[in-house]
């Protein structure tokens, strides 16, 4: 009797499990917070509706996603991953991200050159789904004249009310390098940048974007280097916050999608990537997150157009896209210089 019962249970189990074989489910790493929500809304939901392929999202930050891929190497639990520029290059060097084949992902032909990332051998390892930038974010009530240059942060009237990102923030080192370049330095010689940053009277350095935003909310900061997306998010809450692109360039990065090396659901994952870089998905992400679209031919509403990271009239050419391999190779050294000479001044 017991055996018969067991058989019955097993049969029922198989019967229940069967449909899930037919309807594959992808596991995809995305971001937390409103970025993750926007990806679910703009990519996953319409993708599942169109193809019947389910998507389980796994929210985490880029560095953690990269670590997960390293641990899962050879037998990945993830099928596709979103990782930011900078960390994306490290994942490529780890050999944990696969190659995106333009034949299987035809929409890649529609992505601008700056948004297609290739290895030395020309194979594609990542595709951009939107650019973001750090520029001059300011309180329009306290800052009378709209800033136009990074050097405006040094103005006497803003002393002690300025915030800039720390090296823990993804924009920290790129910001440091932007200032250094504007001051006449280069990656080998960061002394000009250090000398300038030492004299900047900041209120605080922020690690997380939310910390920066909270400083604007409480009035602790009235101007600073902050993400355009965060600035417009505050403006949407009714705060007197605006964003301007500095003429020396706004350090930028992007959110990129990758195929995981060795995924068992390659075909479905490729379909998802193709969908994520489609015109519809790119338009939706840009309208929701105000990221600059990497897909060609995206038409935006006037509101979104005015809030692009490159400003109302710019393009990807107005962004300062760091040479990430150079940044990664120097991250250690630059962070130590920052710790000792800028934060610990």
């Amino acid at each position: 009797m017991r055996r018969i019962l067991m058989l019955g249970v097993t049969a029922a189990g198989v019967a229940l499990a069967a449909p899930s074989f037919a309807q594959e489910k992808l596991v995809v790493a995305i971001y937390g917070g409103n970025w993750g929500t926007a990806i679910e809304k703009c990519v996953f939901q319409p993708f599942t509706a169109a193809t019947g392929i389910g998507v389980t999202s796994e929210p985490s930050v880029s560095t953690v996603t990269r670590s997960k891929l390293q641990q899962q190497k050879g037998n990945p639990a993830l099928d596709a991953v979103w990782i930011d520029g900078g960390i994306s290059e490290l994942a490529m060097a780890d050999g944990t991200v696969g190659t995106i084949d333009p034949k299987k992902v035809p929409n890649i032909a529609n992505v601008i050159d700056e948004g297609v990332y290739k290895r030395k051998d020309g194979s594609i390892y990542a595709a951009s789904t939107g650019f973001y930038a750090v520029g001059l974010t300011y309180n329009t009530k306290e800052v009378k004249e709209a800033p136009s240059s990074w050097w405006d942060l040094w103005k006497k009237e803003y002393e002690g009310k300025v915030i800039i990102p720390s090296p823990v923030n993804a924009a920290g080192i790129p910001f440091f390098l932007t200032i250094n370049k504007a001051a006449g330095g280069d990656i080998k010689n960061v002394q000009p940048g250090v000398d300038r940053l030492k004299t900047l009277k900041v209120s605080s350095y922020y690690d997380a974007s939310g910390q920066g935003a909270s400083n604007f909310q409480s009035g602790e900061a009235i101007i600073g280097a902050h993400y355009a997306t965060a600035a417009w998010g505050l403006a949407d809450q009714g705060l007197p916050i605006a964003y301007a692109v500095p003429k020396e360039g706004a350090p930028s990065s992007d959110i990129r999608i990758h195929l995981v090396e060795g995924t068992k659901k390659k075909e479905s994952a490729e379909k998802l990537i193709n969908f994520a870089i489609s015109k519809e998905a790119a338009t939706c992400l840009s309208e929701n997150l105000y990221v600059g679209p990497a897909t060609k031919g995206v038409t935006l509403t006037d509101k979104a157009k005015a809030r692009m990271p490159w400003g109302p009239n710019g393009s990807v050419k107005s962004l300062f896209l760091p040479n990430w391999e150079e940044v990664n190779a120097n991250r250690d050294r630059l962070t130590e210089i920052w710790n000792k000479q800028v934060a610990g001044k």
Partner: protein, 279 residues
């Protein structure tokens, strides 16, 4: 009382296994990683040499202990009278329970939320500065946020329940007839407190200060938010290595250095107390 050997194995085995899986193994992994070189993956003690020979890391370690010490002192000064009052002066059991709940409730809130709360309270336009200006104590808002003082205030608030609960549990068990005897023999209440109550409550003070000190040394969220990146404690450096610089071996070295130096300090503290108790 003798217990069955199997019960002993079970009683001892469960906590030992727990410690082994969740502390010894992860810490061993970290300790091993600290001897790796990020560049080539070879073995070396270079990370330790770097920490030992660079004044910056000694400075960070010093600041970490200095802040933890101030937090411990502040929590003791605020927490002891609180625990004393709850134990001896609050007669109603209901009221006492309500006070305990009020003390413990903040522990249910994430420390991120509480640190953000302090950002609002301690800021230039925050309630503390508003009050100081309104009462004419200061002419213009003072800088509390993003200073060592701000970090100490924020952390002390988080650590307070640990001190109050530990001290109160000891005070409750002090035999009150000892205190009555002291008073009968003519001791002033203050003398009776200093000679009888306080010495008897010392185990609670020692345990409470150890808990608060070690938690403060390893705290990350509160100092990282309330320092505004201007003051760097060890936990922030460790996080920086793991999350931003991605130099895991050096992060591991910093973690081991923090653990070992904290253990040494605590061992020294306990040794001094033991000597003192004997003498």
């Amino acid at each position: 009382m003798r217990i069955n050997p199997w019960s002993a194995v079970l009683l001892l085995g469960v906590p030992v296994a727990f410690l082994f899986i969740f502390f010894i193994v992860p810490f061993g992994t970290v300790a091993v990683a600290s001897f790796r070189m990020p560049a080539d993956g070879g073995w070396s003690a270079a990370n330790y040499v770097k920490i030992a020979t660079d004044g910056y890391y000694w400075g960070a370690l010093y600041l970490t202990f200095k802040i933890a010490l101030w937090v411990t002192l502040l929590v003791l000064v605020v927490g002891y009278p609180l625990a004393y009052t709850i134990t001896y002066n609050v007669r109603s059991t209901l009221l006492r329970r309500i006070i305990y709940i009020v003390i413990v409730t903040p522990l249910f809130t994430s420390s991120i939320v509480r640190a953000f709360g302090w950002l609002v309270l301690l800021g230039r336009k925050g309630m503390v500065n508003d009050t100081l200006v309104a009462l004419d104590f200061v002419d213009k808002p003072v800088q509390i946020l993003f200073t060592e003082g701000g970090i100490v205030i924020g952390m002390a608030y988080i650590m307070l329940p640990f001190m109050v609960l530990t001290v109160a549990s000891i005070l409750q068990n002090i035999n009150t007839s000892l205190l009555e005897a002291a008073r009968d023999l003519g001791a002033h209440p203050i003398v009776a407190f200093l000679k009888v109550t306080f010495p008897l409550s010392l185990p609670g003070v020692i345990a409470g200060s150890l808990i608060v000190f070690t938690l403060s040394v390893s705290a990350y969220v509160t100092p990282s938010i309330l320092s505004g990146g201007k003051k760097t404690v060890m936990s922030m450096l460790i996080y920086q290595q793991y999350a931003a610089t991605l130099n895991f071996p050096f992060g591991a070295t910093l973690a081991v250095a923090l653990l070992v130096s904290t253990l040494l300090l605590i061992a020294g503290y306990l040794l001094v107390i033991e000597r003192h108790a004997k003498g």
